[in-house]
Amino acid sequence: MIQALAGGETRSAGELGKQFNSAQPTISRHLKVLEQAKLIERTVEGRVHRFRLRQKSLQEAGAWIERHQRFWNGAIDQLETLLGRGAP
């Protein structure tokens, strides 16, 4: 879904449903989860719901994961060294 919106353009729920060949309620559920996670935003024009990727949120979430992955990897490397020295 994120891939489908990655171009930055706005797509309607109907268009996304056709692309994924999934039932509309399934698509709606996925979109709702992504919306709650603040990864996409919704605009409503009459009966048509359109969705767009929030690029900034996505980058920010990726940066958080990468930073903490690096943190724990580095920390456990050091823990391993410390334990190797027979401490604590």
Partner: protein
């Protein structure tokens, strides 16, 4: 469908679970290893290792940046499990993002298997958690009181 907002690391360590657990349990030992790299200096400002107790760490990088992290020990089951919250303080780019670290240690034939699970709560989750008995707000208060009680 939902993007992974968690970091999961699994590592075998050549030490028994009690020894690995002890590495998390005192300021003296934590200060020796809980940093992302050897040149990032950790100063343990506070570490009250009991359920409901607070910790607060300062990380200083070689380029002069300082990151402050604090949290509350939510669950301590020596020597196998430890859960604590993790909140980076402003002005950091990731300040205010609620997250939780679960450390699981199990015995293995070579020593221990360590699993670190660091989960980030998105705003919707955080709101739900706050609604459930104000748990988040109480925790913030606890952190604040902990800070106020620090010696100058």
């Amino acid at each position: 469908m939902k993007p992974a907002e968690r970091v999961e690391l699994r590592r075998h360590l050549a030490a028994p679970p009690a020894q690995v657990f002890a590495a998390f349990a005192s300021a003296e030992v934590v200060g020796q290893w809980l940093t992302p790299a050897p040149d990032v200096k950790l100063t343990v400002l506070e570490l009250d290792f009991r359920e409901g107790g607070c910790y607060r760490f300062a990380y200083d990088t070689p380029d002069g940046q300082r990151m402050l992290v604090g949290g509350v020990y939510r669950n301590i089951e020596a020597p196998t499990r430890l859960v604590f919250s993790w909140l980076i303080e402003p002005p950091d780019v990731h300040a205010g993002i609620e997250s939780q670290v679960t450390v699981s240690i199990s015995p293995s034939s070579q020593g221990s298997e360590l699993l670190i699970l660091h989960e980030r709560f998105d705003r919707a989750d955080a709101n739900a958690r706050h609604a459930e008995g104000w748990a988040g707000a109480l925790e913030q208060l606890q952190l604040l009181l902990g800070k106020a009680g620090e010696s100058p």
